[in-house]
Amino acid sequence: MDNVKELLVILIGSSLVSNVVLSQFLGLCPFLGVSRKIKTAAGMGTAVIFVITLASAVAGVIYRFVLQRFGLEYLQTIVFILVIAALVQFVEMFLRKCMYSLYESLGVYLPLITTNCAVLGVALTNVQKEYGILTGILNGFATAAGFTVAIVILAGLREKMEYNDIPQAFRGMPAVLLTAGLMAIAFCGFSGLL
């Protein structure tokens, strides 16, 4: 029972309370860049869920069975960077060949995710918090789900903002950044949840 409770805490904590974008400020680049339309935002979110879950699994395995065994924990950051970049490349190739329909829907976003620091962030958080491999995967999934929630909400707000007559100085990115800031404040409300 304690186990289930702990997993639930990770699930809610990573997705809402310490939201990857709005309270850790990771992955801001796609958060601002691909949030014009709800449809593309949802596509990006799905791709991020897919990649982060996979990356936390691979990073967890490598940390546990390679780095820890040889006492090379201090090289985790650079090894994770290389491995995650290679993984995303490989996933893109694999999907293109073997699951073309999935590639069609995620393909545009996959190369963008290579540079998404949230992926690396999750892998490092998993190590820092000493999660096991399975718990790490769950944490990765929850974090990515939090990212998706945030980006889809922002895209919805931006679609509505299209119609507004925004003062010249605030048009474009400034208004988006202000919106993101207000969202971050709103998400602070979740901090009492745990």
Partner: protein
């Protein structure tokens, strides 16, 4: 004393990972190779790269793959025009068919002086929300330009502006990408040949009496232009005149004869 072993281990590990990843990706690249049309990359390089979407595909890369697959014409890019069309035709090894240059035209001239208003509107300044506003906007005419400039916002070339309450296209800047045509909720903008000399600047679908009450420049569908056109290029349907650009010779008789001034010289 520096820890030389530490530096060497780090270097060795990173190189090993690099070599392993490189080999792995290289092998995977061979194993999962998908034939890519190299013409697609060449076509993409020849396209303007604005990603305006005027061709109807998802950006320039979308059009490039469609052209490479033969699903789109080599001169399907409305922005690049003939110059780009010819270059792509050379890449694809086909003859480019000449395409008539087009320009956007707003079929309305009901500005603040000509068209009346039913009430004062203060609210979100965007044409697309007007369907939620009583009477489809404050302007008396139900078909006319609302003047809130949704077309101005979407134009990637700064070629359309609202002047005195009605949108006007700057033909020198217009690339005929069709974004304004798509966004206008009143469907008032269309692409006409650049060399067209006359155009009907009204799309009112109301009966004559209603149009007269709403706007002093509205077409009432009287048909004088139809009777006077020597080329039979003008017709009246849905209570407003329309010019068939294929038949129009640009003589301008309809412009002179129109009692309401709804047909304009451009």
């Amino acid at each position: 004393m520096m820890n030389v072993t530490g530096i060497l281990t780090a270097a060795a590990v990173v190189s090993l990972v690099g070599i392993f990843v490189g080999l792995f990706l290289g092998v995977a690249g061979l194993k999962f190779r998908v034939e890519v049309d190299e013409r697609e990359a060449a076509v993409l390089a020849a396209l303007p790269g604005n990603n305006c979407g005027g061709c109807g595909f998802a950006g320039c890369s979308g059009l490039a793959s469609a052209i490479a697959e033969g699903k789109a014409d080599v001169n399907a890019c409305p922005v690049g025009g003939d110059a780009v069309g010819k270059r792509i035709a050379a890449i694809m090894g086909v003859q480019a068919t000449d395409r008539e240059p087009l320009t956007a035209f707003v079929h309305c001239q009901g500005d603040c002086g000509k068209a009346g208003v039913d009430y004062t509107y203060t609210g979100v300044q965007d044409c697309r929300v007007m369907e939620f506003v009583p009477g489809g906007g404050a302007k008396s005419c139900n078909s006319g330009c609302l003047g809130f400039g949704s077309c101005v916002k979407v134009c990637p070339f700064d070629a359309i502006h609202v002047k005195n309450g009605v949108a006007v296209v700057d033909r020198k800047k217009c690339k005929a990408c069709g974004k304004c045509v798509e966004v206008c909720p009143k469907k008032l903008i269309s692409l006409i040949p650049y060399k067209a000399r006359t155009a009907v600047a009204c799309k009112s679908t109301d009966k004559g009496a209603v149009t007269v009450a709403a706007c002093s420049a509205g077409c009432v569908g009287c048909g004088i232009c139809v009777k006077n056109c020597p080329a039979q290029a003008v017709s009246v349907s849905e209570f407003h005149a329309q010019i068939d650009m294929e038949k129009c010779t640009g003589c301008g008789i309809c412009v002179e004869k129109c009692p309401k001034g709804s047909i304009v010289r451009i």
